[in-house]
């Protein structure tokens, strides 16, 4: 069942589009904002609300890399692996993260604190390498700063 707040937020978006299907990406994001990820059950509920089959909706959900169809940690760490960051030290930064968090890209820490994901160019190439944790952007990140940065997220 979609929660009343979820329904309400989806309704707000509904007014911006002429068809129900067009709202589906916004709806997936609404549910993910409340629950962290989109389960099979949630997919079915959103599909029912928008007159889409869950297969149709899953075809959309799995296309977009920021829709999570698996549970994720409390915080999402996105490390930019595109070209400017790669030139400016992505590999060392990535090693710094994976060794501190003891996970590989695409994995979640055992304490469920972080999910670490690669991301395409974050658009701060003049301050590479870059990292984004939840809504916070970190620029010119040195591996030595990672302990301090990660401390902000419990």
């Amino acid at each position: 069942m979609l929660a009343p707040e979820e329904r309400q937020e989806i309704e707000v978006e509904r007014a911006h589009y002429p068809t129900r299907q067009a709202v589906c990406i916004e709806a997936l994001k609404v549910v993910q904002r409340h629950r962290g990820w989109v389960s099979d059950e949630a997919l079915q509920d959103i599909g029912d609300a928008l007159d889409m089959t869950s297969e149709e909706l899953d075809g959309v959900a799995t296309f977009y890399n920021l829709v999570f169809r698996k549970p994720v940690g409390r915080h999402i760490a996105l490390i930019c692996d595109s070209v400017s960051c790669w030139i400016m030290g992505y590999e060392k930064l990535c090693q710094g993260l994976t060794s501190r968090l003891k996970i590989s890209l695409g994995e979640t820490t055992a304490d469920n604190r972080f999910t670490l994901l690669p991301i395409v160019c974050l658009g701060v190439c003049n301050h590479a390498p870059a990292l984004m944790i939840d809504d916070d952007l970190y620029r010119d990140v040195e591996p030595g700063q990672l302990d301090e940065v990660l401390e902000n997220y419990k």
Binding site: E26, G59, V67, G123, C125, N126
Partner: protein, 424 residues
């Protein structure tokens, strides 16, 4: 030197001008002027200004608008979309415009919508641009409160509803027709053209999609006229350009300069030259999907026509610099891995070809490269050439590869002969 696009943008990321501050600096004067003109007159101004699309392709904006059906019998509603899905690796210019002066984009969009008589507009924004989202939402609220948006704008009888769509990722959403599918709640696969979106776009209605920087120019063109706009430029393409540089230069950054500024001036004066201890080897002039240029091209003027004559594309105008301590094969591998990952899988040359390309380059970097890989990479640049694929993703992916094979061939050969990456 005039800098219309960035004159209001505070340094160090301070809050952008609010509605009132924007008006005090001349903001919304372009809109007030435009709505007293006929839509055809506004289209004519933009056409005469030689404004070319700043998303990378450089398509003339006036020409794009000329394909939109006009008049009483035109399909309704028509749509205007701002492509704010900035995701081309190495590109960070639209972020500055949205974070630094969101009303400038909104005003440019309202005028553009008026010119083509579109009553619904979307800003298609990538999700990671959180600060842009926050500032655009605030500016949109202010614009509605002051009757710049909504019904009967400033008593003109013209109405526009403008919505912010925050995307859920994928480079393909930046491709014009992929973006339309994403807005319709579908996978962002490209659509075949024709029909072109100007005739049949969102929900089958006439739709114009423009890059953020392109739209930001529109209010200035209307306020100051096409001759003023053309005079901002060193070359035939009108206006200023947001240029950038990233990589191992002394001062990576972003600068608004006359269109047609030389690569040498950008690199040496604005970016401060190479960092101590590293030497320049080449650059991608405007994002991941542009051909490498080298030392011999430093005096090329950065505009759409001149960079094309030099064998590349200006693209987004944000240069990525390759230095002598960075492996060119490794750099191209990074680029091709990106394109292979972001291929939507819709057409075969792209999904198949880009993965083979990426794997061959990876093998080379890891010492497993073979001489025939060079020929096979050459083959891929032809297999994925324009005309063989639905959209520009794969042809774009081939641009850095084909030029790297040309300019850095001996580096590829060293990887094969030495069975290792000489830079590792």
């Amino acid at each position: 030197m005039e800098k219309p696009l960035t004159k209001n943008i505070p340094s160090h990321g301070a809050e952008p001008p609010n509605r009132k501050a924007y008006e005090n600096s001349g903001g919304y004067a372009g809109l007030r002027k435009a709505i007293r003109m006929a839509p055809a007159e506004v289209r004519d101004l933009v056409d005469k200004s030689n404004l070319r699309g700043r998303g990378g392709a450089g398509f003339p904006t006036g020409k794009k608008w000329s394909f939109v059906p006009m008049g009483e019998d035109a399909p309704h509603p028509k749509y205007l979309v701002a492509n704010a899905d900035e995701m081309e690796p190495g590109t960070f210019k639209d972020r500055l415009l949205m974070e630094g002066d969101p009303h400038q984009l909104i005003e440019g969009m309202i005028i553009s919508a008026y010119a083509i008589q579109a009553n619904v507009a979307y800003i298609f924004l990538r999700q990671e641009y959180k600060l842009s989202e926050r500032r655009l939402r605030k500016a949109l609220t202010e614009a509605y409160e002051n009757h710049y948006l909504g019904k009967n704008i400033l008593g003109s009888g013209f109405s526009v509803e403008m919505h912010l769509h925050v995307s859920a990722g994928r480079y393909m959403c930046g491709e014009e027709t992929g973006l339309l599918n994403a807005l319709e709640g579908k996978r962002a696969n490209p659509r075949s053209k024709p029909p072109f979106p100007q005739v049949s776009g969102l929900w089958g209605k006439p739709t114009v999609v423009q890059n953020v920087e392109t739209l930001c120019n529109v209010s200035h063109i209307v306020s100051n006229g096409p001759d003023w706009f053309k005079n901002l430029s060193h070359t035939a393409d009108g206006g200023t350009k947001l240029y950038g540089a990233s990589g191992k230069v002394k001062r990576p950054g972003l600068w608004e300069l006359p269109m047609g500024t030389t690569i040498r001036e950008l690199l040496e004066e604005h970016a401060g030259g190479m960092r101590d201890g590293v030497k320049f080897r080449g650059l991608l002039p405007g994002g991941a999907s542009t051909d490498f240029l080298t030392e011999q091209h430093l005096d090329v003027r950065m505009d759409f026509s001149e960079v094309q004559k030099a064998g590349s594309r200006m693209g987004t105008g944000t240069m990525i610099i390759l230095d002598d301590q960075t492996c060119p094969v490794g750099m191209v591998w990074n680029l091709e891995r990106f394109f292979a990952q972001e291929s939507c899988g819709w057409c075969t040359p792209c999904w198949s070809g880009l993965h083979w390309t990426e794997r061959m380059l990876g093998a080379m970097e890891e010492g497993q490269g073979r001489a025939e890989h060079l020929e096979r990479l050459e083959f891929q640049t032809k297999f994925n050439a324009p005309g063989n694929t639905f959209c520009a993703l794969a042809p774009g992916a081939m641009e850095p590869l084909q030029s790297a094979l040309k300019y850095f061939r001996s580096d590829f050969e060293r990887h094969v002969h030495e069975h290792r990456c000489p830079w590792r």
